[in-house]
Structures are given as structure tokens and as C-alpha cells.
């Protein structure tokens, strides 16, 4: 009897606690994040999250935003999925049920596809940080793709490499899903433009402790250009080992890796002479980019990469859209993000994204970077 009483009291206390909690949440909107926060890809997840955190802190420091006349703050709820699509799906369900988030940020294509299976039914926005073109091609009505698709890079990199470095290609790359899609498109484009693929040996960054064997296999095919990529740091190792083994040619670097980060591992930009890749944020000359880099450095003590910058601007745009529409309904926000990108303060938009395509892709001008005489140089895409 005593126990039953105690139990009843506990239940009562718990319900009271919940209702009190709900009361405290009135002026707060929760935004979800699921990504790798432990394991081999933890750094990537942390970098993505750092951009979101910075945006949330800036919004809250200014007293939040106005939602139907009520000052509202943002709370980020982040869950670790260890890069697993299944775990990402579980996390998203949990975020929706427990925190009623209107949007979930996911920085990997596997997780994005998993969430797209049910996000329209469960009614939340997928904020997709991945360049795979099919993310927006599927026609999911509640998806926003933050970075540009990579098909533009594939064409531009191939054209530049074939014009400047030669027509034989050795395929390095990696074995994760994203890298495989990239590699397939590169091979098609390369051979379609009259080039020849002479070696094919993607690196397994999760299972290989060493890349000497794989790299020597590609070099044995004697290519003019080597396709490499994956996370920046292991890509740097591959480039370093290729140079050590006497490879003189150029590198074509998948967009996941950033030239400046790769160079730190590879042993400097001299090792990367003739590399083609995406333009690292640190090379952007615009005021908005510089201001973002400065603030990020002051906050985290390191140079931001594009994953921080893109997610930073996406969260700002999302909040701007909620502010403008006085709504947290995912459908309404989705429709208002394009305008929000145009009207929001330029300092919150380091990449100067100003439009969203009909299928939900942020429009960014694609450029390419080349390492020339030990410097990263921006080249126009023809």
C-alpha cells in the first residue's frame, strides 16, 4: 500500500514535471541534428555541428527572434548516429517525438535518404548537408539541400584536368557510398570526354591501415591525373604517399576534402602542385566570408571549413524564415527560406546564397581551385 502511494506520488511528480517543462518551452524552438559525433567521422560531425551552434548562439545572444509577438530562442538538440543511416532514422524519430523539432540537420547522404522515407509523413524538414544530386531529384517536398550538387564539379574538374594535365586517369577515391557515386560520375565524364581510365583502386578508409599498396597499384598504371578523396586528412595521407612513390602528375580531389586541410597532412601545398578541388572557405575574398572566418576563429580557435559555414547560414536562414512567417510549420518554412536568404543580414551568409531551386537546392556559384606554384588559385568555370 505504502509502495503504491509512493508510486502514485512519483507519477504525479513526473507528470507535473513534464507540464512544468512544457511551460518553460513556450518561448523556445528546438532544432534537431543527427550526425557522427563519435567514431572515425566524429570530426566531420563536430565541424558541422559547430556551425549550427555558432548560429544558435548568435540568435539567442540577440534575444532570440519574434514568433507571434513572443521572443523565442533556439535550442539545438544533437544526437550521435555514428554515420549509420539506421541510427539517423531512429534519432530523427526521437527528435520529432520528444522535442517536436520542425527541422533536422543531417550531414551524410545515407542518413538523408533514410530520413526522406518518412519525413513528409512525420512532418519535419530534412536539412540535407550533402552534394549528392539525387537528394533533391527525388521530389521530396520537405527537403532542403544546403551545398551545391557535385555534378557541376565533376564536369569542371574533368575539363580543367584534361586540358591542362593529360587524358589518362587513375581512380583512387574511397569506398563509402558518397565517394562511389562521385567516382561513377567521374569515370563517365572522363571517358565521355575522350579520356582513358588506366587504374581503378578506391581506398577503404575504414578498413585499411595503410595506403601504400593501393597507391602503388594506381601508379603502376602510370596515369597523368589521380582522382582522390574522402575526408581531408586520410586524403592527405594518400597524396603524400603517392608523391613519396614518385607520382609527378596532378590530383583531382573530391569535394568532401578541402585543399587547405589536405595540405596540412600531405606536407604542404608544394606536395599538391597541380591539384584541382573545391575552393576552400579560407580562400574566399568576400567581406562576408572573412567576417565569418574571424568570428569562428574567435569562438573555436581554428579555421572553419565549408561544413561549418554552410550549416551556419542554413540555420540562420531557417530562423529568418520562421521569423518572417510567424510559423514553425515545416511546409511554411520550406516555402519561405528562399526569401529569407535574400533578406537576411549578409554577415550571416558567408557563401552569399540567394536562391533556392524548386526542388529545394540552395543555389551557390560553383568555382574550382587549383594549386599553382605552391598557392591555391581560384579559377573560373568555363
Amino acid at each position: 500500500m505504502k509502495i503504491a502511494k509512493k508510486l502514485g506520488l512519483a507519477v504525479a511528480a513526473a507528470t507535473l514535471g513534464i507540464s512544468l517543462n512544457a511551460g518553460a518551452l513556450a518561448g523556445e524552438v528546438k532544432i534537431g541534428f543527427t550526425g557522427p559525433l563519435s567514431g572515425g567521422a566524429a570530426l566531420y560531425g563536430e565541424n558541422t555541428l559547430s556551425g549550427l551552434r555558432m548560429a544558435a548562439e548568435e540568435i539567442n545572444a540577440g534575444g532570440g527572434f519574434d514568433l507571434n509577438g513572443e521572443p523565442t530562442t533556439i535550442e539545438l538538440v544533437s544526437l550521435d548516429d555514428r554515420y549509420s543511416p539506421a541510427q539517423a532514422a531512429t534519432n530523427a524519430k526521437r527528435l520529432k517525438q520528444e522535442s517536436n523539432v520542425p527541422a533536422v540537420f543531417v550531414p551524410h547522404s545515407g542518413g538523408i535518404f533514410a530520413l526522406q522515407d518518412f519525413n513528409e509523413k512525420d512532418n519535419f524538414l530534412v536539412m540535407a548537408y550533402s552534394s549528392v544530386p539525387s537528394i533533391t531529384e527525388k521530389g521530396n517536398g520537405l527537403t532542403l539541400r544546403i551545398p551545391p550538387t557535385f555534378d557541376g564539379y565533376v564536369r569542371a574538374f574533368t575539363a580543367y584536368a584534361q586540358e591542362n594535365f593529360g587524358t589518362t586517369l587513375g581512380m583512387g577515391g574511397a569506398t563509402h557510398e558518397y565517394a562511389k557515386i562521385w567516382a561513377t560520375m567521374v569515370e563517365q565524364e572522363w571517358t565521355g570526354k575522350g579520356g582513358k581510365v588506366v587504374a581503378n583502386n578506391p581506398m577503404d578508409y575504414n578498413k585499411s591501415a595503410d595506403f601504400f599498396t593501393g597507391v602503388s597499384r594506381i601508379i603502376a598504371g602510370n596515369p597523368d591525373v589521380m582522382f582522390v578523396g574522402g575526408a581531408s586528412e586520410p586524403t592527405g595521407l594518400v597524396i603524400q604517399q603517392a608523391r613519396q612513390m614518385g607520382f609527378q602528375g596532378a590530383f583531382m580531389i573530391m569535394d568532401q576534402a578541402k585543399i587547405d586541410e589536405v595540405a596540412e597532412v600531405a606536407g604542404g601545398l608544394e606536395m599538391m602542385e597541380g591539384s584541382i578541388g573545391v575552393v576552400p572557405l579560407s580562400v574566399y575574398e568576400t567581406e562576408t566570408a572573412k567576417s565569418f572566418i574571424q568570428r569562428y576563429k574567435a569562438r573555436y580557435g581554428k579555421t572553419p571549413g565549408s561544413e561549418a559555414a554552410y550549416n551556419y547560414l542554413a540555420l540562420h536562414a531557417l530562423v529568418e524564415a520562421m521569423d518572417a512567417t510567424e510559423s514553425t510549420d515545416p511546409k511554411v518554412i520550406r516555402g519561405a527560406v528562399a526569401d529569407a536568404l535574400k533578406t537576411m543580414d549578409a554577415s550571416k551568409n558567408p557563401y552569399q546564397v540567394t536562391a533556392v531551386t524548386a526542388d529545394g537546392g540552395f543555389v551557390t556559384q560553383t568555382t574550382l581551385a587549383v594549386v599553382k606554384d605552391g598557392k591555391i588559385v581560384r579559377e573560373a568555370i568555363k
Binding site: 572515425g40 570530426l43 586528412e233 586520410p234 613519396q244
Partner: protein, 287 residues
């Protein structure tokens, strides 16, 4: 022909690292019958310790290696004292769960202090030797030489000294060892210390040509378990031979067939060897 020799060098480098890690694992298993899943985490802590000594304190590479070996040896002893020793009368599954617990704990701890960044640690041996097209970076040569020296030193210690003999005695027969008055606690602590030091040295040798990050232990621990099963659980020569077999299978299989299949080749060998010798290659020798 150069490409062939290049693969021999690759196989030797990989085999040396795998062998060193497997050696620590097999010692602990052979003597205390604990499958130490946390061994990969000790390897990772070893790399971070060397990184800390070298980059933050500015110590020389060799000193950093010695310091790291000492720290991880102590950590190994602590694991034995605080976790495995109190569990000595529990069913074997408790050891396994505890080992996984230590693994998760150490990884989270390192991630808390150092974050999840990939780090680079450079050794003083950055030169590259080129023998008429055969390319051997100095650090790789150091790995091979270092591994052989360590294995030799360990053999000498176990075979020629009294303290080493107590370890061998424990491995051969626990009851027998107790009967002649060998202190089991001392042997257990010593074994963990040696195992930890080996892991730290292997990590310090390998880190300069690789990256240092909290999840770096996963890669080698999987292989190390395959190796000690292949070589015979608890067998020292088995760990070394197993390490070389896996290293060479990866290098040659990866080069002449395909890197996508190199694990299949290694595991295929495992199946083949185990079907002929289910106890592993050298199981009889040590026990």
C-alpha cells in the same frame, strides 16, 4: 621487379605493426585468459601520449616513445588492478564486458581531452630512401627494425631471465606456477605492463606515417584478434607469424588481385589455416 620488392616492404611494415599489437594481446590471453578488447584503446592512448610528449612538451621522439610506453604500461596495470583482478573469480563473460567498458571509457576520455580532430605527429625520420626505384621511407624501415628488435628483446627476457621465466611458467600451468611459489599478482601486473608498453611503442612507430585520432584503435584490434586466432591463442611465435601472414596477404593480395578483396584474402587464409589446424598455427608451442 621493383613493384614486387615494394610489396615485400609494405607487407613487412604492416606485418610488424600488426604483430606487435597482437603480441600484447596474445600475452594477456595466454597468461590470464582475458580477451582484452581494450587493447586497441591502449594502442590509441599510446599514440596520443607520444603526441602529447612530442608536440605539447617538445620532447624528442625516442623519449616520447619511452614516456608513452611507461604511461600505457601503468594504465595497463591499473586496468588489471582495478578491473580484471576483482573479476578473477567471475564467469569469463564478465571480463569481456569489462574490456569493452574500458575501451569505450578510454575512447571517450581521449575525445574529451583532445577532441576528435585528426592529428599529425612527425618523427625525425622523414627521409625517403630510393634504391634504384625501390622506395623506402625511413620511418617504415624503422618500424620493421623496431619490431624485430622488440620481439628479440622480449624473447630474451622471457627465456633468459628469472622474471621472464615466471611469466612462461604461468602460461604453461597456473597450478604448477602456484606450487613452486610464483606470485600470480606480480605476473598478472607484469603481463599487462608489457602488453601496454608494446601497444604504445607500436602506436608511436606507426603514428608518423598515419593519423592520430580517438578511433584509430579499431582498425588494428580487429586484425590483431584475427592474428592471434590464426597463430594460436596465447602463442608468441604465432602472433608474429600471424601478423606477417596478414600483412603480406594485404600487401600482395591488394596489389596483384585488388585492394577491394584484400580482406577476403586474409580471412580466406584464416579459414584455410583453421580448417587444417583448428588450434591455430603454433598453439602447442607456448602452452
Amino acid at each position: 621487379m621493383n613493384l614486387f620488392f615494394q610489396q615485400i616492404i609494405n607487407g613487412l611494415t604492416l606485418g610488424s605493426i600488426y604483430g606487435l599489437v597482437a603480441l600484447g594481446l596474445t600475452l594477456v590471453y595466454g597468461i590470464l585468459h582475458i580477451p582484452n578488447f581494450a587493447h586497441g584503446a591502449l594502442y590509441m592512448v599510446g599514440a596520443f601520449m607520444s603526441y602529447f610528449f612530442m608536440v605539447d612538451l617538445g620532447v624528442h621522439y625516442w623519449l616520447a616513445m619511452a614516456g608513452s610506453a611507461a604511461v600505457v604500461a601503468i594504465l595497463g596495470v591499473l586496468c588489471e588492478r582495478l578491473v580484471f583482478h576483482p573479476l578473477r573469480h567471475s564467469p569469463p563473460i564478465h571480463d569481456k564486458i569489462a574490456a569493452i567498458g574500458i575501451l569505450l571509457f578510454l575512447e571517450a576520455l581521449v575525445q574529451m581531452f583532445w577532441g576528435s580532430d585528426f592529428r599529425r605527429m612527425s618523427s625525425p625520420f622523414t627521409g625517403i630512401m630510393n634504391f634504384d626505384g625501390l622506395i623506402i621511407p625511413e620511418q617504415r624501415l624503422l618500424i620493421i627494425a623496431g619490431a624485430f628488435t622488440l620481439v628479440f628483446a622480449l624473447q630474451m627476457f622471457l627465456r633468459k631471465t628469472m622474471t621472464g621465466a615466471t611469466i612462461i611458467a604461468m602460461a604453461q600451468s597456473r597450478e604448477g606456477a602456484f606450487l613452486v611459489g610464483i606470485d600470480a599478482n606480480r605476473v598478472a601486473m607484469m603481463t599487462f605492463a608489457i602488453s601496454g608498453a608494446l601497444a604504445a611503442i607500436a602506436a608511436t612507430l606507426y603514428a608518423p606515417i598515419n593519423l592520430v585520432y580517438p578511433a584509430m584503435g579499431h582498425l588494428v584490434i580487429m586484425k590483431a584478434f584475427v592474428i592471434i586466432i590464426l597463430g594460436g591463442m596465447g602463442s608468441i611465435p604465432g602472433a608474429i607469424a600471424g601478423g606477417m601472414i596478414i600483412g603480406f596477404a594485404e600487401a600482395f593480395g591488394g596489389f596483384y588481385i585488388s585492394t577491394a578483396y584484400k580482406d577476403i584474402i586474409a580471412f580466406g587464409l584464416l579459414v584455410l589455416i583453421l580448417s587444417v589446424r583448428p588450434q591455430g598455427l603454433f598453439a602447442k608451442g607456448a602452452h
